[in-house]
Each structure stands twice: as structure tokens, then as C-alpha cells.
Amino acid sequence: MATRFKAFVVAACASALALCAAVATAHHSAAQFDFQQRVTVEGTVKEFNVTNPHTWAVVELKDDKRGTRDAQFEGHSASHFYRAGYTRDMVKVGDKIAILIAPRRDGEDGGFIQAFTVNGKTVGFGGLSPETGKREGASE
């Protein structure tokens, strides 16, 4: 799943980097995130709050280098989540999740959610189709 997911989310957001960043900066103090970078993290959902003005999530990460720890992620508003294909209760506590993020500039865990896959379903942002990973409609 991870490889397929990575292929989608990289294609999805690489083609719309500017838009992803533009949408993000409308509501967020985006200075702490590097929107020129993309990193995929995988873990277990501990909290996932799709809310306004922005979503936030806590995901348990685990790797050999840094062990097990909780990481916090920010994301778009609830409106953008639902337009991007999110449905109510799509993500539940305990779900395995893969998230494509714009990482923090300080190198710490966490980042800004650009796309995610959970239970076989992917949601991507920036006017991109979650099914095809391509931009819908005409270009800006």
C-alpha cells in the first residue's frame, strides 16, 4: 500500500505545489512548514480532528532510529477535507495511516498534511482528484 500511496501523493501534490501552499497559507501560519519538501510517514491514529480553521491529528510513529512516539500534524480546514473526498468517520482511532506531509522546518516530527491514505482510501488536496491524482477542470 505504501508504495502505491507514495506514487499517488507525490504525483498529486508535485503538480500543484503552489496551490497546496497557497491554500495552506490562507489559514495557517505556514512558516514552520517546508512546502517545497514532501515526506511520507506511516503510523497509528491516536487523534484525528477534522475541524476549522484547521485539522489536527496525533499519530503514533515507530522506527528504529527514534523509537515510538506521538507526532502532531496540521491540515486543511474541514471544508477542504470534505471537498477533497473525506467522509465522516473515515479515520478512526487505531487506524493505520500513511500521510504525505510538508515537513517541519526544524526537523522535528510533524508537518502539514498534503494527502493521506487510510483503510485503502486516499484523500489529496489542491483541487486534485483522490481517484486519479490529477487536477480536475481547467488550470488556473
Partner: protein
Amino acid sequence: MTKGPRARRALIATLTATICGAAVSVAEAQKPDFTGVYESYRAPQGQGQGQGRGGPRAALPLTEEGKRRNEEYNVLAGPTRLNGATFCADYGTPSMMSLPGAYPIEFIQKGDQLTIIYEVNNETRRIYIGDRQVAPEKRLPSRAGYSAGHWEGNVLVVKTTDLLDGQDQTGSPFSDQATIDERFSFEDANGKKVLVYQAAITDPIYYTEPVKIERRYQAYDGFIIPYGCQDELWYELLDLRRDQMKAGKPVEARMSDVYKVREARE
């Protein structure tokens, strides 16, 4: 059954009034109806740029006071670029008309009023058209301002006043002496019906000359999504107190605790 001169005059008067009334109704009916949900206009491939997103902020004609205010804001915003939207503050007029964050906007036009609702924060502004206006001394200054409109042909011409001193989220200021001259019209663009919004901000405190904005919107094939924001603070406070209650602790969380939790997430 022959009618007298008085009856004929009455009949003529009635017919005249009916015809004039019908003419007025036809004229009213010919005014554009902006009712609908819109998003930023997107030009077809290779036919120029859409003009729904982004700001007119490249080279603002700031006065010395405007420059000082801008520099002050940069210090206040700090390196993480805090902005009001993060705290559910309204964008105000004309910022909301730029559709910051790329959300849709709804226009509801009915007779002597055009109501505009931006999805974010359900931010609402009302344009009163024609003679029905709030008396100047009764106008409460606000981020939206007070908007009075009239028709010039098929263009709705609006003057917005009674704004609060403030700054948009990019830091560009406007004073309580600012006025905004706005125009709403339809045009055909590449076979697509486009709503054109033009605004000129005149502000003797912060700008040496009017700042002009132009945006284009196209019909949005979708719905406005309810956007709660400020109320999230209240529910987060309840969550904190619920956690305290479940833990058998005194239920005493304050709004300042909510902000601490939020700051810890940033």
C-alpha cells in the same frame, strides 16, 4: 352603457399606471441577478490567467504612516507569521472578496438587497440597493463595512464605508476613513458567464492613491459547507473540562487553557 368623460379619464389613468408599472417591472427583471454560488474563475488552458486568487499587494502605494503600520505588523506577526484567520477573525471587505483559501462564495439577490456570504466563518456582508438605507448615524462600524448600492445600467455600483481600522492577513492596513468603490457585473469569457468584481480602495491615512482590485468568479458546481470556527473554542473548552471530570479533578479549565493546548500543537 355609454361611459362619461370622467369614466374614460379613469380608464386611461388606470391603463397608464398599468403600462408604466409593467415597464418598471420589465426594467427590474432585466437587471442582472447575481444569485448563485461561485468560485474563482479559471481561464481555459492557454487563454490567460484566471483572476480569482492571489492579492493585489505587489506594490502598494503606502503613505509613510502606511509603511510604519506595515512594518509594525510584521513585528507583531513574528517569524511564524501569525494571522487573524488562524483565530477565526473575519477577513472583512474587500479581503473576503478575494476568496482567501479558495473557498466558494454565495450571492443572494432579492429586490433591494444583495447578500454575500463567504464560506469561511460564514462571513456575511449586505449591500442595500436603492432608497432603503440605514441612516448614517445608525451605522455600526464593522470589518464588512456598510455597503450602499445602485444600478448603473447592468452594473451594480456600491460604495462601502463605516469600516473598522484593521489589517488584512497579509498585513496591508486600511483605516476607518477608508472607502471602497465597488462594481459588480457579468461578462462573457470564453463562452462562460463570469461575474466580475472590481474595487478601488481610497484611504487617505495609509495610501497615496486608490488601490484597485479585480476578481472574476465562475459558477461553482457544489454547495456551501457549514463552517464553524469560533465555536470550536467553546467545544474545546468543554472537552478539557470533560477530561477533568472523567479524571475526578476539579472542573475548572479556562479558555486560556484551550489556547495553551492550541499553541502546543503549533
